[in-house]
Symmetry: C2
Subunit: 451 residues, 2 copies
């Protein structure tokens, strides 16, 4: 059993060599035992021409599986190269939710052409109906493949029926139980089905209380439910409580990770979901907007300093600590907003209101401020032998740390209350605002001290 | 079916009221139908005395489930309040991996006392052996509860055996197949077991190629494998290929999320894994180290400015753009390091070496730099009517953006190469270094221009 295979750079270079020499046989042999995710990973990193050459050598089942696993930008190029009929053939083999996701990446024209070419009418209907759901809702990520039995059946009837239904379903996580009106009443564990005596009725062994979501529930809520309760699958109902699909944990794992990564990206001033492998233009586009925000902040900072130009001319040593104050304001703001954003993302209930949170942050900032201010007071007094400057820097540092902490806590909380993603506030916006206000506080306090 | 219950602040206040009036009956009634994760969530946020009062009202099964779900710091207080015998009773009901995790949170003395009091000798052995594995390895997160059949059995024998084994196993994700020497040879889907004809041999229907990990594999690798291949469970083997446990997706979901959140926290200058609900002291401790790093950076920045004190006295308008340059250096560095850190975390293969990545970042920085420099040149020239200052600021901004981008890319790549967590470099360290070097570049270029 040699399945612990890992793709290496050398392996890919070997494959590229086979492509260059047109050695189809060796390619087929090399990738024969690979998982679809591994094949997709190879196609993602080699050139498009090489990828297309290999893709044409895959059998039908593998080709559609690989298509699902590809990076979105690579897949887009594949879809453009394939005819509507070819895409439709692939979609016949896919899970309905994967097919609908890929369909959504195509132009409306192509969508219609593809739908008409899908052979299995039920699959075409399923895909079309899945595409109706709004993005980021349970409906948009659910699959329609599920195993569903009637509560009045016997377990033997169930197994007979499931044999038919299971053809379309790759993994049976759970067997759902419905009443005669197709309303969800509970679920049946495979365990209990396997161990049931002949002739047992479903209604006697099924589990009644089953959590579900409605199709318009947000994916964020779905993810947090599945994570909290350790579900591997979650049934989706329409407003009439009819079972219309199920969401599986593998889709949710991606959502959980993307959510956490998105917060990090926004805090770092990256406005689109980019990867290091994306093009130079895409990377620049994702980064430039926030740099311009920073630039505007810098210009405002320059204006603030301009207000105190005469004083700085008289006491040029004040200028030395401008970057320290600005940097500390930024750092404190980033810290406190990160804590708020992660707290909101983890969705824990919290008995303390906004005032309570601000008071807590005030106490944290006070502690941090006291330590940092004493350190800088000691440094300026001991090394620069300048008590006035030391007092100016340390007192304004204290004020800046407290202000930045409270501001960094308050803004994301307010945004969340107004249903705006609080992660928007972290990163350059809070950093920049804190910079500018921190500067003003420093120069104004200096002004009071020196005059 | 009313299972769509959500804990509200009002619900918790009602429970607190019941505790205050000693109304045990109403408490039991209120929480009777709750999921253990919900009960734990309530105990996490109320006071310790209230939580203990409620905990004593739970039945055995629920009590041990809730103990597993509690926040670590709340659980610690519970464990201190419980005797070794009481803890041992709870551990008899837990999955071995949960019990081992909790055991690891206690003092060695208490661990020994608890192990000796566990009734089921197999459970005691399982827990003790799980505790031998190093933290953050597959062995440390696996559970020993699994369903395992011999390849030479018939499916009926399997079902009989599984009935016995399944008592300990909450969810059967997969049935593992072993040979006579207990070496893993493959797995059996419940689907095929359910639909097999009477008398079929396991060896005729099982799936041969099964991915596994060794017990010393890192949890990061485990998580990336399960995510990539959409596994819900992964078998763990010892060096002799003997099946010793399995890792389930719910444990891995937590790891994936923690990993992503940790990167975000480090980038935000938070050195310990803290939540907004932690104590003021814990929050301060997590934040102060990075603020002191920032402080040292600020002092270095002050020294750099001190070097140019005379020039700043002659041309005080130079001081105006000090915060702009420092902020932009910080922003660019944070962006580029975030992209590298997420790229490393997502573990994609990458055919480009370090030089290729640096060249790409150079091009991105060049584009961003050109746009930002032209904007600031236009602003200073149009508003301040000062071409020399405009040229100084825009040329040094260009240099700073390119330097900060390359530095922010290089440092995490180098750390990763030396097997140090690259997230360490993001946040305050890169920001601070870029600040200082950016300042020097700015003032030096200004010096060249004005003299």
């Amino acid at each position: 059993m040699d399945v612990q295979f890992k793709i290496t750079k050398e392996f890919i270079e070997e494959i590229q060599e086979f492509v260059a020499t047109g050695n189809r046989e060796s390619i087929v042999q090399s990738i024969a035992d690979l998982h679809e995710a591994d094949v997709a990973e190879i196609l993602d990193v080699i050139s498009m021409d090489e990828a297309k050459f290999i893709f044409r050598l895959l059998d039908d089942e593998m080709a559609s599986d690989v298509l699902v696993e590809l990076d979105e930008d690579v897949r887009l190029e594949f879809l453009e190269a394939l005819s509507a009929k070819e895409i439709a053939e692939q979609m016949d083999n896919m899970d309905s939710d994967d097919a609908a996701d890929i369909m959504a990446e195509m132009s409306e024209e192509k969508q219609e052409a593809v739908i008409q070419q899908i052979e299995d009418p039920q699959q075409a209907i399923d895909i079309a109906s899945l595409m109706q759901y709004e993005e980021d809702t349970a409906g948009a990520i659910m699959g329609t493949e599920l195993i569903c039995v009637n509560e009045n059946w016997t377990t033997d009837q169930c197994i007979e029926e499931m044999r038919i239904q299971a053809e379309d379903v790759q993994y049976i996580y759970t067997v759902y139980v419905v009443d005669n009106d197709k309303r969800l009443t509970g679920m049946l564990s495979l365990k209990s089905l396997l161990f049931a005596k002949k002739g047992t009725l479903v209604k006697d062994i099924y589990i009644e209380n089953v959590r579900y979501v409605n199709s318009d529930e947000s994916t964020e809520e779905v993810a947090s439910m599945m994570k909290k309760y350790d579900f591997v699958a979650l049934p989706v109902l329409n407003p009439d409580n009819i079972l219309i699909g199920r969401i599986t944990i593998d889709d949710v794992v991606d959502i959980i990770q993307e959510e956490a990564e998105k917060d990090y990206q926004m805090a770092s001033g990256i406005s689109e979901n980019v990867e290091s492998s994306d093009s130079v233009l895409a990377l620049t586009r994702a980064r430039l907007p926030w740099l311009i925000v920073g630039l505007v902040g810098g210009v405002l900072g320059a204006e603030v300093i301009g207000l105190f130009e005469k004083q700085l001319g008289d006491f040029p040593q004040m200028a030395m600590f401008i970057p320290l104050i600005a940097a500390m304001a930024g750092n404190v703001g980033v810290q406190s907003s990160a804590i708020v954003v992660q707290g909101i993302a983890s969705n824990n209930i919290d008995l303390s209101g906004i005032a309570g949170k601000l008071f807590k942050e005030f106490r944290v900032a006070l502690l941090n401020g006291i330590v940092c201010s004493l350190l800088i007071l000691g440094f300026v007094f001991a090394v620069k032998k300048d008590l006035t400057l030391g007092l100016t820097v340390s007192i304004s540092l204290m004020a800046v740390i407290i202000f930045a902490g409270i501001f960094g806590t308050l803004i994301p909380l307010l945004l969340h209350k107004r249903k705006i993603d609080p992660a928007l506030a972290t990163g350059p916006f809070i950093t920049t605002t804190n910079d500018v206000i921190g500067l003003f506080l420093y120069l104004y306090i200096g002004y009071l001290f020196y005059f």
